[in-house]
């Protein structure tokens, strides 16, 4: 039996915890780049560093049946890179898994 009054109380616990369900902040930029011929490349920039991007890319590769990798960039942090035009796929997938909200996604390209 502990005395409740003597418990340490962190007044900022809520503030810290509040963002926990919603780790993603800021926009996720989804871009497309043309390669040689009809080939393209999709990059996903701005996913929260709290996420394990390696696991995400592993899931994406399986889901979209494409290859992909995580690239470490000094300025933009970790960037997902997927083969082919996966813009729509990745948008649907990110919203479905709850990693990002639809209004946090910003799709670039044509």
């Amino acid at each position: 039996m502990s005395i409740q009054n003597l418990n340490t109380f962190d007044p900022f616990a809520d503030a810290i915890k509040g963002s926990e369900d919603d780790v993603q902040d800021g926009l996720v930029h989804i871009r497309i780049q043309q390669r040689n011929g009809r080939k393209t490349l999709t990059t996903v920039q701005g996913l929260s560093s709290e996420y394990d991007l390696k696991k995400i890319v592993r899931a994406c590769k399986k889901e979209f049946a494409c290859n992909g990798t995580v690239i470490e960039h000094p300025e933009y942090g970790e960037v997902l890179q997927l083969q082919g035009d996966q813009r729509e796929n990745i948008c649907q997938w990110l919203t479905k898994t709850g990693l990002a909200k639809p209004d946090q996604l910003k799709v670039h390209g044509f």
Binding site: Q34, N36, K62, T97, F110
Partner: protein, 332 residues
């Protein structure tokens, strides 16, 4: 993670690639409400395009006409043919482009103020459609105008009804009643200003021609910059950042972009540019000025006087697409 993986819906895999490009913009455009007008007209345009192949077949009989029709390229069906007649097309484009292609940005600002609901009355359709379709569109516009007028009439009646509701009685007037009264007075005093005058902006569609296999030319780039009243450099920055390529303006004032792009793809990007950097974010009038103020761009509206900052153009992460050996040789 395995649990999560089992949740992933395998059905989403089976989608056609071609279709994606179209749906994406419509599906993800932020602020779905404001795009509604545009989308409606877009679908109209596609309807008309569906009718076109039949017309094209008729015209295929006489070969002279053929080069004209190829302007509706970008259709997969016709691809072979376009390649074949590319030279012909090139020669045909500059003179036909001028008169055959016309789109319109029509808007009725001020309408929005009428009943306080801004989003449903505004209409910004930038159809880069062609002259053939013009007749039909005019009709649509007329219908729209008629509808607007009808709405207005109804509004007015409502306003009148409501404006007198409290005059005889003792009760307080509500906010809505006062609002209606104000707009009624405004409409009476100067009918031109408030009564939703239709501004129509004619905008030419981008003329996009492939140069060789790896480059694309955007022939009327400077012309479009002029119609939008924007610095070519700004639009150039945006285009290149969005498309993730490099390019430059050549001696004939045309933009050369590296990579293969079709007209509708460029149109999509232009549409996004106009939405972000040309139309006013408050009243959506295209009569705006872009100013640079301490490293930030501000959009000043000439119609409603609002001033707001717009996003800076960033190209973001660029993946390595070229030959790594070549890059290494350049840096070392």
């Amino acid at each position: 993670m395995t649990e999560e993986e089992s949740i992933f819906d395998p059905t989403s895999r089976k989608k056609k690639k071609k279709k994606k490009v179209f749906d994406l913009d419509a599906g993800l455009s932020d602020g779905g409400g404001e795009r509604e007008g545009g989308d409606a007209t877009d679908s109209q345009a596609t309807d008309k395009e569906n009718q076109e192949p039949a017309r094209n077949q008729e015209n295929d009989m006489d070969i002279d006409e053929n080069s004209l029709d190829l302007e509706s390229f970008g259709k997969k069906k016709k691809k072979k043919k376009t390649k074949f007649n590319l030279d012909e097309l090139d020669s045909a484009l500059p003179d036909t482009g001028g008169k055959t292609l016309e789109g319109s940005i029509s808007n009725d600002a001020g309408e929005g103020a009428e009943d306080g609901a801004v989003e449903d009355n505004f209409e910004l359709d930038m159809d880069f459609s062609q002259k053939k379709k013009r007749k039909k569109k005019k009709k649509d516009l007329d219908v729209l105008v008629a509808e607007d007028e009808k709405e207005k009439a109804e509004d007015k009646e409502n306003a009148e009804d409501e404006s007198v509701t409290w005059t005889g009685t003792d009760r307080d007037y509500t906010y809505d009643e006062l609002l209606n009264r104000v707009f009624e007075i405004m409409r009476d005093k100067n009918p031109d200003m408030v009564a939703g005058k239709k501004q129509k902006f004619v905008m030419r569609p981008p003329q996009v021609v492939r140069i060789g296999t790896k480059k694309t030319s955007f022939a009327n780039f400077t012309e479009i910059c002029k119609t939008l009243h924007r610095q070519p450099k700004h639009l150039l920055d945006f285009l290149l950042a969005e498309l993730g390529t490099s390019g430059s303006v050549d001696g004939n004032n045309q933009l050369i972009i590296k990579g293969r792009f079709q007209q509708k793809q460029i149109e999509n990007v232009l549409r996004r540019y106009i939405k972000e950097y040309v139309t006013c974010h408050t009243c959506r009038s295209p009569d705006t000025i872009l100013q640079k103020d301490t490293r930030l761009f501000f959009l000043q509206c000439e119609t409603c006087g609002s001033r707001c900052s717009v996003a800076s153009i960033k190209s973001g992460f660029q993946a390595v697409t070229g030959k790594r050996a070549a890059i290494r040789a350049k840096t070392a």
